[in-house]
């Protein structure tokens, strides 16, 4: 037994070291940069300056909340229809939902640009029937659409995965006890699928609120989100301190909203994946 515990300790050592250096320390470094000036002296200026970004934070949250809700409203019935199909059909439908996730989101976003552009595919079709070109890109709707499009599979899959595990006999029992299809949905399926909804919401909200290329490409640079500002500070201006302060606040924001979600869902499960 002594022997075994020694082996156990050795086997975990690389990961414990790795996680300490490359997961925990980087977060401390973000905090360090957020509270220092370029010379390394302590300052609160970076945090104070964040008030300049109030609107951007608010807009990022509004955009991603709207995108998350739209994704939920579309994904829920989708997952429901999927879970009612024959097992073989379900498998194929799931593969078809997963496939775009395996493609580069960048290339899909480029493809949407080609479809929505001023001289893109939609507008050239409209021109053929004599409709003046529409400005589809560079609008809030385009950015929200991009978020929904890119992340909706992450909403569908967890909801579907929970729904497909609902025991059919539970549904039969509800029917036997006099539930109509509406009450079956609200009183049985909805509560049972809540864990999937919760992880779907987090898996859409987190990447949406922090995206920068969707807003850059589909927002045509007219719409700035938190991700864009971080990207500019770090990559264009080399202002690591401001970028770190923004990242820190983004992280806190996400931790808070995850905690809020858990409170709502009333669940203590740490795992995002169902």
């Amino acid at each position: 037994m002594k022997n075994r515990s020694f082996l156990q300790r050795i086997i975990g050592a690389p990961y414990v070291l790795w996680a300490a250096i490359f997961i925990v320390v980087p977060l401390l470094i973000v905090a360090y940069y957020a509270f220092t000036d370029p010379a390394g002296a302590f300052t609160l200026d970076n945090i104070r300056n964040l008030t300049d970004y109030g609107t951007i934070f608010r807009e990022s949250i509004v955009y991603s909340v709207v995108a998350t809700l739209i994704a939920l409203v579309l994904a829920y019935p989708f997952a429901y229809v999927m879970s009612r199909k024959r097992e073989k059909t379900q498998q194929i439908m799931m593969v078809l939902v997963m496939l775009p996730m395996w493609m580069s989101l960048l290339i899909l976003t480029y493809s949407w640009m080609g479809i929505l552009e001023r001289n893109g595919i939609i507008n050239s079709l409209l021109a053929k029937i004599g409709v003046a070109p529409l400005n589809l890109i560079g609008t809030p709707a385009a950015v929200i659409f991009g978020m929904v499009y890119n992340y909706i599979p992450y909403m569908i899959l967890p909801i579907y995965s929970v729904m497909s595990k609902i025991d059919p006999s539970v549904l039969e029992a509800a029917e036997d006890l006099g539930s109509g299809s509406a009450s079956k949905l609200y009183r049985v399926i909805l509560p049972l699928s809540m864990p999937g909804v919760v992880s779907g919401i987090t898996m859409v909200f987190v990447p949406s609120v922090s995206t920068f290329y969707i807003s850059q490409k589909l927002g045509d640079g007219k719409i700035l989100l938190v991700g864009d500002v971080i990207e500019r500070q770090i990559q264009a201006q080399n202002n690591y301190n401001a970028g770190a302060a923004l990242s820190l606040v983004l992280m806190v924001l996400i931790v808070l909203s995850l905690a809020l979600m858990k409170l709502f869902a009333g669940e203590g499960d740490d795992n995002l994946y169902v």
């Binding site: 989708f78 229809v81 960048l106 290339i107 899909l108 987190v206 922090s210 971080i230 992280m251």
Partner: protein, 268 residues
């Protein structure tokens, strides 16, 4: 009636989901340079992919090197870590490990990328280096975000294994190391392979974290695609991704069909 509405809804959703992919495949056959005006049918962008003049060759090669290395290293460290976490008795320590493992999965990519970049820059400055980002920082970043997914795939398999198996092997005279390699590892192998596959594809696809942690001398395919902002996208990149699309489709169909067969066997 209700069923029909459901099917129409699902059909429309799939159409939108696949529209950009259809457009991508369609314009990969464009004889012109545009990705929104179709001139005529041609294979020329596909042909160009396989010539030496192709500018995509190096990013593709870099992406494959990075994904292979990071996936293999992450799988080794991650599998060992999962075994370690599985055997940890101390509740508080186990919780800490699980929480830390969850951090890269919960944090937005941009925060993971920025935090790692700041670490590399910080250490680089301490050592007096002007440019601290390069292939190795990128590799470290990829290993870091891949390990949690390997653990996520391996840990449930470990929970399914019978703890007495390894003890039985040791009672029969194998050393703990032999027991691990001969008994435990084979029973968690499916989790290890799916972890490896997941790590490989995550690494192939990653743009955001790479964007912050790579140096100027090592460009991966997603970075190459992102940098094409200024000049419009050429159909050759669509041709490349159409091939990738076919490959992914084949792999997904294959693994699912074999998975379905396995399921059926299990039921019998």
């Amino acid at each position: 009636m209700k069923k029909a509405i459901g099917n129409i809804f699902v059909g429309i959703m799939y159409f939108i989901l696949y529209l950009p992919l259809l457009i991508m495949v369609f314009f990969s056959f464009n004889s012109g340079r545009s990705t929104s005006v179709f001139k005529g049918f041609s294979f020329k962008w596909y042909a160009e992919l396989f010539t030496n003049s192709s500018d995509i060759g190096i990013p593709v090669r870099n992406t494959l090197i990075l994904a292979t290395l990071s996936a293999v290293i992450a799988t080794v460290i991650g599998t060992a870590a999962a075994v370690y976490i599985y055997y940890v008795k101390n509740k508080a320590w186990k919780n800490t490990l699980n929480t830390v493992t969850n951090i890269p999965m919960m944090n937005p990519d941009i925060v993971t990328g920025v935090s790692l970049m700041l670490l590399f820059v910080f250490v680089g400055r301490l050592m007096g280096a002007l440019n601290s980002l390069n292939f190795f920082t990128l590799l470290i970043a990829h290993i870091t975000f891949n390990i949690p997914y390997v653990i996520l795939n391996v840990l449930p398999k470990l929970n399914q294994t019978d703890p007495h198996l390894s003890e039985a092997a040791q009672d029969l005279g194998s050393t703990p190391t032999q027991a691990f390699f001969r008994v435990v590892l084979p029973s968690i192998m499916s989790g290890v392979t799916s972890g490896l596959m997941m790590a490989f594809t995550l690494s192939l696809d990653d743009f955001v974290i790479s964007y912050y942690t790579t140096g100027t001398d090592f460009q991966t395919l997603p970075l190459y695609v992102f940098n094409m902002v200024k000049k419009p996208v050429k159909p050759n990149i669509y041709a490349l991704y159409s091939i990738i699309f076919l490959l992914v489709l084949a792999v997904l169909l294959f693994t699912n069909i074999s998975g379905m067969k396995e399921n059926r066997k299990d039921k019998k």
